[in-house]
């Protein structure tokens, strides 16, 4: 597989707002970073009065684009308990961790992406890496392939 000498324009459009310049990671230009407010968590499973439990989810659709015109809608749900063994997890904390872990996963995945990497594979790799990263950061958190129907969708890159 020949790698382009210039960073190829796989643009993961992660941010709607201006103010964050593009970053070159390996062969990929990543336009912006996910922010905590992009994760609109809703409570999906209510928590019993005491103890670890409850479940909240946020839904994100991030459009992956190449300058060739190829696009792929990378969909993922991200969920956390409302309280875990370490104590209560506030919504702002969940949002911050969700954003930090997503950016970390995106960085790690796109460093390895080449112009030949199918976008669906980039998305699957991102989801899998994100799932591992967020679990290490927050006990019980997970990334899923589909979103819960109660979540409010947040779309990037449209």
């Amino acid at each position: 597989m020949r790698h382009s000498q210039r960073p190829h324009a796989l643009s993961l459009v992660l941010l709607l707002l201006s103010g964050c310049g593009p970053t070159v990671i390996g062969h990929t230009i990543v336009n912006g970073r996910l922010q905590p407010e992009h994760f609109r968590f809703v409570t999906v499973v209510a928590k019993r009065g005491k103890g670890a439990g409850g479940w909240r989810e946020a839904c994100v659709h991030a459009q992956l684009k190449r300058t060739t015109g190829e696009t792929y809608l990378c969909r993922f749900g991200v969920g956390t308990p409302i309280e875990n063994g370490d104590g209560p997890i506030s919504t702002p904390l969940a949002q911050r961790v969700a954003a930090e872990c997503a950016n970390q996963a995106a960085y790690s995945v796109f460093e390895a992406t080449t112009p030949q990497t199918p976008l669906i594979l980039a998305c699957q790799n991102f989801r899998g890496t994100y799932n591992m990263v967020i679990k290490a950061a927050l006990r019980g958190a997970k990334v899923s392939h589909e979103c819960d129907s109660k979540t409010t969708l947040y779309e990037f890159g449209f």
Binding site: R48, W55, I120, K142, H145, E146
Partner: protein
């Protein structure tokens, strides 16, 4: 009346896709919509689940009871954590009981976590036959699940039946009935 592996697979097929075409088509599968429908119905009865957790707390006074129920799974899950002082470094067992929302079956398993400070560095899942140190609380959880929800234990050999379904993080040939009826990530716990 216990269900066979074939009957359970036929049930599971309604709720988990057998292809990845929906990923390629960037659409939600009808199976996911049906699973969501099941969750919507079952979560209306969450008071019953909470009452079960309260009862369990009374029957297991040396344990703290948590709720690991999450909608990417297909079961309500309870966890019993031994109420011990936290070691700086060491191993700890928790016991997990799951009651499926897809079929009238339950299972109980153990997870041994290795801790370094507060961080879990390793998780080992253990199914039947359970080790002696967790068998007593596991039996109590099992009897309570049967009595409260009228469900029966899913035998280990049926749970390990491979199914050609995509269940969250499990794909064929790795997917089993355990993943489809309970959870694709048994070690993922709050």
């Amino acid at each position: 009346m216990s269900l066979s592996a074939e009957q359970l697979q036929a049930i599971a097929r309604n709720y988990w896709p057998s292809t990845e075409e929906y990923l390629f088509r960037q659409e939600t599968s009808p199976e996911h919509d049906r699973l969501q429908g099941r969750w919507e119905e079952e979560l209306k009865k969450i008071d019953q689940w909470w009452a079960f957790l309260d009862d369990l707390e009374r029957e297991l006074p040396e344990y703290k009871i948590g709720d690991a129920t999450a909608t990417p799974d297909a079961s309500f899950r309870c966890i019993a954590y031994p109420d011990q002082p936290r070691l700086l470094r060491g191993f700890r067992w928790v016991i997990v009981g799951c009651v499926s929302i897809l079929a009238p079956v339950y299972t109980v398993y153990g997870v041994q976590f290795e801790y370094r400070g507060k961080k879990r560095t390793c998780a080992q899942v253990s199914f039947e036959p359970l080790l002696p140190e967790i068998r007593t609380p596991a039996d109590i959880i099992a009897r309570k699940l049967e009595a409260t929800f009228g469900v029966s234990a899913l035998p280990r050999d049926i749970a390990e039946t491979h199914v050609p379904l995509f269940v969250e993080w499990k794909k064929p040939p790795d997917t089993t009935l355990f993943h489809a009826l309970f959870t694709s990530e048994p070690q993922s716990l709050p």
